[in-house]
């Protein structure tokens, strides 16, 4: 049974500056929380075929029954209609966001309407304040915005502060929402939806206790999960080097997209590896609330000012595998200070690092091929690894001084549709690719995953498993595996568990944990529910015009060999079709 707070959905209408709370026990009993709930709310709240920047586009945040109760259940799910793909938008982030929402007394928050003037929302338990954010609008840095709100509001230690940068204000379709300074609702343009509503930030704080039904088992099970989290080798890996631990193994495998995937091995991979960064730049590791792992790695970049001797500044930059791929190997760059400064600029402006990197990679190749010239770029010459120029391009993507930059602000797919070079625009379902050229399953995953993300069904992981086992991932096997994996991940992201802990929260542990909270689910029930939630997501996608037959496969992925050899379009399409047949 969902407890009395989890059942609460906070509705906020920015147009009328009103808020109210509705009891949605009906939803929480059936769909647990997180993505299960958010999908239902999206189907309820988002009118059909709406423009993503229409005030009626809802922003939905949801947490789950295990949030603030068990370790590593610390993610918040955001759902909305994506301005980047024009379809299902879903993004997850940690920090303190999930704990704060649950402790404020809510299972979900739905934000609709649009303000006429900039606002930020301060949600302190049952009180919601619509604060004037005119002073914050247009401010150069998201870091400054965070600091100002932090100093003006109570709740230090028990609050989340989600904010957008200028990229979100200016509706760059892959603008991010940043929370706790170093975590992101990165993908699919939630930041632009905030911007379209003149919503600069949301602060949530609260301290409600969360009742547990089976108190004795709770403490035992907590210890079991906690021990697994602090002792397991995989968690150790995330703690030690963080996700960048993947750079070298993927490069070794020949799966690290390099120079817009003209290559799948990067000769300078060592320079952007987790090992190299840890040794030379790692300044601090931090954690999401209620997670002992502390996978968040902050680099320190010490730079001299050139106008005065012995005058330095130190910048903190949060780095992960995906930004290192997207801004490192994908751009053929290995000058770490340059890379970190570019990443810092991306966070300052509030963009998604992955989409930005892959879009820059397309633009660099387009320039190399003469498809675009200095006329379009306003005199800038994009070259592999030239970070100073990339920084200027990023600022122009936000400013959008001409048609070309307006196009780049909509991502690689849109820019390529306007200027050409689609065959090397590495987007899937409109979303820029992540850093895995591992084999067919990865791409089938990007194409079929409900949000076209590697995290939907982790095809990249299946490719690697098959490679190790020296087996061929056939379309049949891929489709089987991905449907199963993506279905189960709906349960994890309904509870809402960090995917890093997916090997700890196995089905039997999930059932046990739910039982301590008063839910009676069997493993079979959960499997069924996972599939149902996934189908609901597809119900939304098809409603909004998704067509598997129209999915574009960029030629580039077929040209550059993967660990499983060169990929065949026919096989990928076959697996995609099988996926949708199996999902029926």
């Amino acid at each position: 049974m969902p407890d009395k707070f989890l059942q609460n959905v906070l509705y906020i209408d920015l147009t009328r500056r009103r808020f109210w709370i509705e009891n949605r026990k009906d939803l929480f009993e059936k769909y647990l929380g997180g993505v299960g709930i958010a999908t239902q709310l999206l189907l309820e709240e988002c009118p059909k075929n709406i423009d993503p920047f229409d005030p009626e586009n809802p922003i939905i945040f949801a947490v789950g029954p295990l949030t603030a109760v068990y370790p590593l259940a610390s993610k918040t799910v955001a759902m909305f209609k994506s301005p980047h793909t024009g379809n299902l938008g879903e993004s997850h982030a940690g920090g303190r966001s999930a704990i704060a929402i649950r402790s404020a007394g809510y299972g979900a928050i739905v934000i609709k309407g649009a303000s006429e003037t900039p606002v930020y929302l301060a949600i302190h338990e049952s009180k919601v304040y619509f604060r004037d954010a005119s002073i914050l609008w247009g401010m150069w840095s998201t870091f400054t915005v965070g600091r100002i709100i932090r100093e003006n509001e109570p709740g230090a230690g028990i609050r989340t502060i989600m904010r957008i940068g200028r990229a979100g204000e200016r509706l760059v379709t892959y603008a991010s929402v940043i929370t706790e300074t170093y975590r992101h609702f990165g993908r699919l343009g939630l930041g632009a939806v905030f911007g379209s509503k003149k919503l600069k930030a949301i602060l949530v704080s609260g301290k409600h206790s969360i009742p547990v039904t089976d108190k004795k088992t709770y403490r035992e099970l907590y210890d079991e999960i906690y021990d697994a989290a602090v002792k397991s080798p995989i968690m150790r890996k995330y703690h030690d080097l963080g996700t960048p631990a993947n750079v070298l193994p993927l490069n070794e495998l020949g799966a690290l997209p390099t120079k817009n995937l003209k290559q799948s091995k990067f000769e300078y991979a060592e320079k952007i590896s987790g090992e190299f960064l840890a040794e030379h730049y790692l300044g601090r590791r931090i954690a999401c609330a209620n997670c002992p792992v502390a996978c968040i790695h902050l680099a320190t970049l010490r730079e001299p000012y050139i106008d005065e001797p012995y005058f330095y500044k130190t910048t903190w930059v949060s780095y992960d595998y995906e930004p290192l791929f997207a801004l490192g190997s994908m751009l053929g760059g290995f000058d770490v200070p340059g890379l970190l400064k570019l990443l810092d600029e991306i966070d300052t402006q509030g963009l998604d690092a992955m989409s930005t990197g892959v879009t820059l990679a397309w633009a660099t190749e387009a320039m190399e091929k003469g498809i675009i010239t200095k006329n379009e770029t306003l005199g800038l010459e994009l070259k592999w690894g030239d970070y100073e120029t990339y920084r200027k391009v990023v600022i122009n993507i936000v400013k959008q001084p001409n048609e070309f930059y307006q196009a780049l602000a909509r991502g690689a797919e849109y820019a390529a549709s306007k200027y050409g070079g689609k065959e090397f625009a590495l987007t899937f379902g409109g979303n820029e690719m992540p850093g895995y050229h591992t084999g067919p399953a990865a791409y089938v995953g990007f194409l079929t995953g409900a949000r076209h993300s590697h995290l939907d069904s982790a095809g990249y992981s299946y490719d690697q498993k098959m490679f190790k086992a020296q087996e061929t991932p056939t379309p049949e096997k891929i489709a089987d595996h991905l449907v199963k994996e993506e279905s189960w991940r709906q349960i994890l992201s309904s509870l809402v568990i960090c995917f890093f802990a997916r090997n700890i929260y196995k089905p039997e542990i999930a059932v046990k944990a739910l039982k301590t909270m008063g839910y009676e689910f069997t493993i079979e029930d959960l499997n069924k529910l996972g599939r149902e939630i996934l189908k609901k997501k597809y119900e939304f996608k098809f409603r909004e015009g998704f067509d598997p037959n129209k999915l574009r496969i960029p030629k580039r992925i077929l040209e550059t060999p993967t660990p499983h050899g060169k990929l065949a379009e026919k096989e990928i399409r076959k697996a995609v079709n099988l996926y949708f047949e199996k999902l029926k």
Partner: protein
């Protein structure tokens, strides 16, 4: 000798708040409403964290200001809290310079560390230690 919770090295703190959740879990509840220890950033997480917990003063001001003797000094340092006597005046909160009297909004009573050491078992990074109080010299 009495024991207390010592903050050994805040620089090792990653801000996971496992200690806070552990403290609340003594009452078999989730969330942070019952925690008597508090972790917050030192002005932005990149600057690290502040761990706030009763340091078991030998002459505790919170006990001195309590008008109902709900807070009484413990032998060898620290305090004992008798919630039945508390009238919720919050004088103890005001007088504690380090902010270690944490207000429980759900009961309208203070939460002060009981020196049980439970949270230290859940500090994965060596920040907290449950140890003997050194004699004041």
């Amino acid at each position: 000798m009495a024991k207390r919770l010592a903050v050994i090295d805040t620089e090792r703190c990653v801000g996971c708040q496992m200690c806070m959740f552990a403290c609340a879990r003594r009452y078999s509840v989730g969330g942070l409403g019952k925690s008597a220890i508090h972790v917050k950033s030192a002005g932005g997480v990149e600057r690290g964290f502040v761990v706030v917990v009763c340091r078991a003063c030998p002459d505790p001001p919170c006990a001195k200001v309590c008008p109902t003797q709900a807070i009484v000094p413990r032998k060898n340092g620290g305090v004992l809290v008798k919630l039945d006597k508390c009238i919720g005046c919050k004088l103890c909160v005001e007088v504690c310079l380090i902010g270690a009297v944490i207000w429980d909004e759900e009961t309208n009573k203070p939460r002060i560390c009981t020196y049980c050491g439970y949270c230290a078992n859940y500090c994965p990074h060596g920040v907290l230690k449950f140890q003997e109080i050194e004699e004041a010299t």
